[in-house]
């Protein structure tokens, strides 16, 4: 008779690297959907942007350690990569907030539905359009910086080493 305890199959939720990977894919896919208002329609674009804040916050929660130590690490940074990573991450965060804020300020569906009157300024229309275009190459650079981590994790997952 086999007396050994049955081994529970490890889920991606039990591994921090896999959790980050899955949530990052979810974030990227939701970001791509939010970036295409011409495809989804303005109403869906605005509501999805509100929902998008959830995977965005989860992304920060999963990298909490980095955020809490980022300023100390920046001061001690020895390589250009570390400094570049710090500047790029915070630029991306600020730009993301700017895109969201400017998007809410040019809302034609979300705020009127909620009964909040809004006078749309051309300044915010321009800012929303320009910052949403700028955030894409910045995201590309962010992904490039973590490309090795993504590649290694995919290889390890294929080999079932993680």
């Amino acid at each position: 008779m086999n007396t050994s305890a049955p081994t529970r199959k490890q889920s991606w939720k039990d591994n921090v690297q896999k959790t980050r990977f899955v949530m990052d894919i979810l974030l990227l896919v939701s970001f791509l959907i939010v970036l295409a208002p011409q495809s989804t329609g303005i109403v869906l674009h605005e509501w999805l942007s509100l929902v998008f804040f959830v995977p965005f916050v989860i992304h920060i929660l999963l990298h909490w350690q980095w955020f809490t130590h980022s300023f100390k690490q920046f001061k001690r940074a020895k390589t250009i990569r570390e400094r570049y990573n710090f500047i790029l991450n915070y630029s991306l965060y600020l730009l993301m907030i700017f895109v969201l804020v400017s998007g809410f300020l040019v809302s034609v569906a979300l705020f009127p539905t909620l009964g909040i009157p809004l006078e749309i300024q051309d300044f915010w229309s321009k800012m929303h359009h320009d910052s949403a275009t700028l955030i894409m190459p910045i995201l590309g650079l962010h992904l490039a910086l973590h490309f090795r981590w993504i590649k290694t994790l995919i290889v390890q997952m294929k080999k079932k080493a993680v």
Partner: protein, 95 residues
Amino acid sequence: MKFVKKNWQSRSAIIVGISLVVGLLMITLEQTPYASDINAAGYQHGGEGKPDIPAVVLFILPFVKALVLIGVPLLIARLLANILRLVSRKGSWKN
């Protein structure tokens, strides 16, 4: 999701709080002369009416645009990083 759930309420409150403060500070940009200039000049992007292309293409194009704008800088950055790594390796061999 144990990695997210650990103290998630307090940590999320900090993220949302900081983001709100940053967002409110950004709204003050509308008081700048730059904003007034844009508001005075007016702004419009995209042409009037629908372009004469199939609906499927119209649906796919924004995603292609996003993928190109993300993908091209990604590839250029990877290429530059590889070149820099090669150059630094060659430099270390010489020394």
